[in-house]
Amino acid sequence: AQSVAQPEDQVNVAEGNPLTVKCTYSVSGNPYLFWYVQYPNRGLQFLLKYITGDNLVKGSYGFEAEFNKSQTSFHLKKPSALVSDSALYFCAVRAFEGNKFYFGSGTKLNVKP
């Protein structure tokens, strides 16, 4: 079965510190992986994706994510967190058949000044 897991409901980090938001997946075939961010009272916004190629992908707002095939993970990272990064983050994987996307349950990131 295809699925995405975000094991942390909430991540707290101090401004200026590095942050990691975890995501693991289960999908048949080669995965297409995505991160989206949902700011309060705003729609989801695309952050970055992994389709093929370099395992480290860079996206918007200084975020990056590392695809690890052996660990079936796609963790979101940022070297130095900002208070404005506080939001709800969703990991997603595309199922190879039918173009269906599976989203994780979301991780709330709290960055404190």
Binding site: G43, K49, K100, F103
Partner: protein, 116 residues
Amino acid sequence: GAGVSQSPSNKVTEKGKDVELRCDPISGHTALYWYRQSLGQGLEFLIYFQGNSAPDKSGLPSDRFSAERTGGSVSTLTIQRTQQEDSAVYLCASSPGQGRFFWEQYFGPGTRLTVT
């Protein structure tokens, strides 16, 4: 340019009534998705349209749910005989459907449906 728009932004309806939710995708986007987001849950895939191909309806939770996309643009999600468990935020997204941005989805603000 204009993003994905959805209407209404909020809808309160009585149990048993039918509701229609509308999505206007970004002009030129050939792919369109509907999702449901319940409180504290991730996004649940409902249906996918791509161009003139038959839609992928595999995520629709029951036959009370249906969707159509007219002229390859505007889409309507219809829920018949609404139940309280249908209360959620319904999100629409579109994507170019081709090229290097094929899989990047642009989401609308959602319609918050409350069934009383």
